[in-house]
């Protein structure tokens, strides 16, 4: 039996630059310019539900952002994840023409990461106030902290109490 993911990968062909499989999750890395086309193909292959659309900030690595699309096939019970590497100054094509539900998700990514989506009908901030400056989920956005109040002592700020360990690469 061929799984829907495999069918999709076959149909996408050249558009997929890299396939990553980690703990049964299949991630397809697609270049930015093919993304919309890839989503359209995925949609017609049965992955009709746009479960999630989000981004990850890899600062200071380059390219800085990953934009992630998670699709689900409601009928065939399969999932697929698309990932686009995006430089800080690049924009993404909007998926709102394929899924009206992408509207808010893209607004959220814009709000929290500052990634712009071309062709989005109404790209405004959604969670933060309209006059907010900066994009909070970027890694270079400072976490504003205050030490907890104690009598006669000023402890370290919360995020420094457990030191962040060095990333170990597989």
């Amino acid at each position: 039996m061929t799984r829907p993911e495999d069918v999709l990968v076959q149909r996408l062909g050249e558009a997929v630059v890299e396939q990553v499989r980690f703990r049964d999750d299949l991630t397809l890395i697609v270049p930015r310019e093919h993304m919309l086309r890839a989503l359209e193909i995925a949609g017609s292959t049965g992955f009709r539900l746009l479960t999630d659309l989000t981004a990850v900030d890899r600062h200071p690595a380059q390219p800085r952002f990953d934009v992630i699309y998670m699709l689900t096939s409601v009928e065939q019970h399969a999932r697929i994840r698309f990932m686009v590497h995006l430089a800080a100054d690049q924009t993404m094509p909007s998926a709102t023409s394929l899924w009206p539900g992408a509207n808010w998700l893209e607004r959220e990514v814009f709000d929290l990461f500052g990634i712009r989506f071309d062709g989005h009908p109404d790209l405004r901030r959604i969670l933060m106030p309209d006059d907010w400056e900066g994009h909070p989920l970027r890694k270079d956005y400072p976490l504003v902290e205050e030490p907890v109040e104690f009598k006669g002592h000023t402890p370290k700020v919360p995020s420094e109490i457990i030191p962040k360990s060095k990333p170990k690469l597989l």
């Binding site: 980690f22 703990r23 999750d25 991630t27 009709r48 539900l49 746009l50 479960t51 999630d52 989000t54 990850v56 900030d57 890899r58 992630i68 998670m70 689900t72 409601v74 019970h77 999932r79 994840r81 899924w99 009206p100 539900g101 992408a102 509207n103 808010w104 998700l105 959220e108 929290l112 901030r125 959604i126 969670l127 933060m128 106030p129 909070p136 989920l137 976490l143 919360p158 995020s159 457990i162 962040k164 360990s165 060095k166 990333p167 170990k168 690469l169 597989l170």
Partner: protein
């Protein structure tokens, strides 16, 4: 040219279930345009979770979505376990499942009560909360807290079940169907209730999928998609239950679906209680789980593990996973990106309410002000979940 009235409903409004603001453009009482404005409860949980260890982050999920607390914890814990490549022992898994299903009942009861009070059935709210209290009492018995439990651990549970747990749950479940029937007499058999919900806030199956709706909203529209069946997690594959599905996609169908889901949850719990296995409740991996407390006095090694695990935390391998569960509101997923350090690089909370709420303008095309209330209640949003 027609004159229209722009009405700001919320963020302080009795029927918006939190700090939701709706901008309505009205002609008389008929809605021409509707735009939900969210973000009033945005607390930056995703950012905060990046600054804490995997273990500390257990406290956040129930605070994000405060009605189905155990399901939230389950979702997060499952995601981290998937990242680590471990599974909890069988007994822990079953206990989680029982508590998650109790959470589902508790959450649906809040839906039922608030949906009823939005239509001014004031009494039902109290009846529902009475039943919910009993569930919360059970939760307190198990975890020591009624809502923000912090009971699930990565790789298992904090404690085993207390004495008398099964009997208490059994007692609740024995009485529960009778109460549900009572509520159905109050609502399902009530002409006014049916008139107010049938054909109101209709969402077609096609629209529901296009807007990314999940949970009872999607199932009410006739799509049988339940994460518990589609991508079985946490042992759901072992139990028999049905996925109730509606047909018209209106507020009444969503109500029916939730009522039936409560009965199904009861069925699952009964099966799970009967088949509750004995055994450990925490994985025996000192890199993930704290050593048992009795070892701390005897073994120096245990103390060292305890110190190391608490002060440094868990180090999952670099990678990214997405794990989701079926919350009472729909698919609740945690997407965790790890770089191999003790803190996540990114935790993305896929919330069902966020997507479901987005479909509100579609549901209320040419509806009236009175329908807004019904529609919001039928989506059953939790603003903490929407804004995170």
């Amino acid at each position: 040219m027609k004159e229209t009235l722009v009405l700001n409903m919320g963020p302080q409004h009795p029927a918006t279930h939190g700090v939701l603001r709706l901008v309505l453009e009205l002609e008389g009482e008929v809605i021409l345009n509707l735009e939900p404005v969210i973000g009033y409860l945005h607390t930056g949980f995703e950012k905060e979770m990046e600054t804490r260890t995997y273990h500390q982050n257990i406290v956040f999920p129930p605070r994000i979505e405060y009605l189905a607390t155990f399901i939230e914890e389950q979702a997060y814990v499952l995601a981290v376990e998937k990242l680590l490549g471990i599974t909890a022992p069988k007994r822990a898994e079953v206990i989680r499942l029982i508590l998650a299903e109790l959470s589902r009942i508790a959450s649906h009861l809040v839906y039922l009560g608030t949906a009823a009070i939005d239509l001014n059935v004031t009494s039902l709210l109290m009846y529902c909360f009475r039943d919910r209290e009993e569930i919360l009492d059970i939760f307190e018995m198990v975890s020591g807290q009624r809502m923000m439990h912090g009971y699930f651990r990565i790789g298992g549970l904090q404690w085993d079940l207390p004495q008398g747990f099964a009997e208490r749950v059994q007692r609740f479940l024995d009485d529960f169907p009778r109460r549900l029937d009572e509520y159905e007499t109050l609502l399902t058999d009530n002409l006014i209730w049916r008139k107010r919900t049938e054909g109101v806030a209709v969402l077609s199956a096609e629209d529901a999928i296009r807007y990314g709706c999940t949970g009872p909203v999607l199932r009410g529209s006739g799509v049988s998609y339940d994460v518990r069946k589609a991508f079985p997690y946490g042992g759901y594959a072992d139990y028999e239950f049905d996925v109730p599905v509606g047909s018209n996609g209106d507020a009444f169908d969503r109500y029916r679906v939730r009522m039936d889901e409560m009965r199904q949850s009861r069925r699952i719990i009964l099966q799970a209680l009967r088949g509750l296995p004995e055994g450990p409740i925490l994985v025996d991996d000192r890199k993930v789980a704290l050593p048992p407390r009795r070892e701390l006095v005897r073994s120096m090694e245990a103390v060292i593990h305890q110190f190391k695990l608490v002060s440094e935390g868990i180090h999952p391998p670099a990678g990214e996973v997405y794990a989701s569960v079926e919350s009472p509101r729909g698919e609740k997923g945690y997407y965790i990106v790890s770089d191999g350090s003790n803190r996540p690089v990114r935790v993305r909370v896929r919330s069902a309410s966020f997507n479901n709420l987005q479909a509100l303008p579609v549901m209320l095309r040419r509806g009236t002000v009175a329908d807004v209330v019904v529609a919001i209640a039928s989506i059953d949003i939790v603003l903490g979940d929407v804004d995170r």
